[in-house]
């Protein structure tokens, strides 16, 4: 059993090309699937770049997701972790059995069947946005006109959050996810969003509602502070992720016309195309991260208790051992099993909702505007390498 591989890696978020992970991380994967890595606070932990090992870590019960055990892979990440950690109900950062208690209250709301029932409503919301784009005429910013409103409207209706309040939660989410935010800015944004959700929970006590938060309030299993924490997680995770997939995915298709034509013209391709876009684009820009709770033998490497492991999901999702010709976007490949929704007990709660939204929105957009094209040169599209969720800040398009 070895304790270290030679050379200490550092994590990087700088991308050389819009759709590819940082070259340094790709080169690291080409050498070996696991590396010693120096963290921003001097901690000597690990970096995982191979698919099989990434999956093994995420499925292993000896690794914790609790923020107080983590070390920051890059300086900016520390702030975000410290600020969120104290909020009750933020179950993404809990281990079983605490995590199980929250997740079990919610999983019944996000089943494959429940999400299928939402499809007609998602399709209607999508058509409304396309109608608005058509009325307005190009060029438009696809993020503001299409990619952000669709998942925002859907998650608002599902949770029971008034869509009229979107400016507030869009603004707070952006501050929380920016790698440039100061600790004070992040604290202020989280407090503002929590205050908003506390007031909403209070309102739902007084006026019961037939939506997810209303149901949790009526169920009485969670206290109000936990309800606000659950609401924070679901609201932010429910719109930022899909919004970025929709915009970045459209950008990727616009630069791969053959793949775009397949998604537009062949309904049988769409399901696989969504998985492939999730794999190829991996909008999880940093991590996921875990901390060993005990000494763990990981394929012959000794991960000591308290050592942090950062998984570079974007390069693990390009591991040729699992995905073959992994550097090309191929909507006809079988990309199932990608790590974009994670793996293990924390695998994305809302993944079936995200799939439904993408399966509806991509082809609807491409069929409504068969001549859709970028309104600026591709090099001028501002990329979100400064955010914890990757994507585009704006996507000017016309048709």
């Amino acid at each position: 059993m070895t304790e270290a591989t030679p050379g200490l890696m550092t994590y990087t978020t700088a991308r050389e090309r819009p759709f590819d992970p940082p070259d340094a991380l790709t080169r690291a994967r080409e050498e070996t699937p696991i590396h010693r890595m120096i963290y921003a606070d001097g901690h000597e932990g690990w970096l995982i770049t191979g698919y099989a090992l990434a999956r093994a870590v995420l499925a292993h019960p000896g690794f914790s997701t609790r923020p107080e055990f983590l070390h920051p892979p890059i300086q900016q990440r520390l702030i975000n972790l410290q600020e969120i950690r104290m909020q009750p109900g933020f179950f993404l950062r809990m281990d079983p059995p605490e995590h199980t208690r929250f997740r079990r209250l919610l999983t019944g709301q996000f089943t494959v069947r429940r999400m299928k029932q939402l499809e007609p409503r998602i399709a209607q919301i999508t058509q409304d946005r396309l109608d608005a784009m058509e009325r307005e005429g190009g060029p438009v910013d696809l993020v503001q006109a299409f990619a952000l409103p669709i998942p925002s409207l859907v998650i608002c209706e599902l949770l029971g959050v008034p869509y009229e309040d979107r400016d507030r939660f869009h603004r707070d989410s952006a501050v929380m996810l920016s790698l440039h935010s100061t600790p004070e800015q992040i604290r202020t944004a989280i407090d503002d969003l929590l205050d908003y959700l506390r007031a909403l929970v209070k309102h739902k006590h007084a006026e019961p509602s037939d939506d997810l938060l209303g149901g949790l309030v009526a169920g009485g299993e969670l206290n109000d502070e936990e309800l606000a924490g659950v609401g924070l997680l679901l609201l932010v995770a429910g719109h930022e992720t899909t919004a970025n997939m929709l915009a970045l995915g459209t950008f990727a298709l616009l630069t791969n016309p053959k793949q775009l034509a397949a998604v537009r013209d062949d309904p049988d391709v769409v399901e696989g195309a969504v998985e492939e876009l999730l794999r190829y684009l991996t909008i999880i820009h940093i991590g996921p991260m875990r901390t060993a709770l005990e000494d763990i033998d990981l394929d012959g490497h000794l991960i000591k208790a308290k050592e942090v492991v950062t998984i570079a999901a974007a390069v693990a999702n390009r591991d040729p051992e699992r995905f073959g010709e992994s550097e090309t976007l191929d909507v006809s490949r079988s990309a199932h099993g990608h790590l974009t929704f994670g793996h293990g007990v924390h695998q994305c709660l809302g993944q079936q909702l995200a799939r439904a939204e993408m399966r509806i929105a991509y082809p609807a957009l491409l069929r409504r505007f068969p001549e859709l094209r970028l309104a600026v040169p591709a090099e001028e599209v501002p990329m979100r390498s400064d955010m914890s969720i990757y994507g585009v800040h704006r996507l000017p398009v016309t048709w």
């Binding site: 019944g108 089943t111 069947r113 924390h346 695998q347 799939r355």
Partner: protein, 64 residues
């Protein structure tokens, strides 16, 4: 082939119900796995194996 499901381990991600809806469903209450067909026909074996492999929590196993 016989499918075993541990609902105590299941996290309700829905990968099984997505992959082989003829064999797997999810509980209306807590989203955990419901096996509709514990002894699936040979024609579905490959898909069932894929679903077991995709399961994020390790709740599914196969007894030959």
């Amino acid at each position: 082939m016989k499918i075993k499901a541990d609902t105590g381990v299941c996290v309700g991600a829905g990968m099984c119900a997505l992959t082989v809806p003829e064999v797997f469903d999810q509980s209306e209450d807590d989203g955990t796995v419901v096996v509709l067909e514990p002894d699936p026909p040979a024609s579905r074996e490959a898909a069932v194996r894929r679903a077991v492999k995709l399961c994020p929590s390790g709740a599914l196993s196969i007894e030959e």
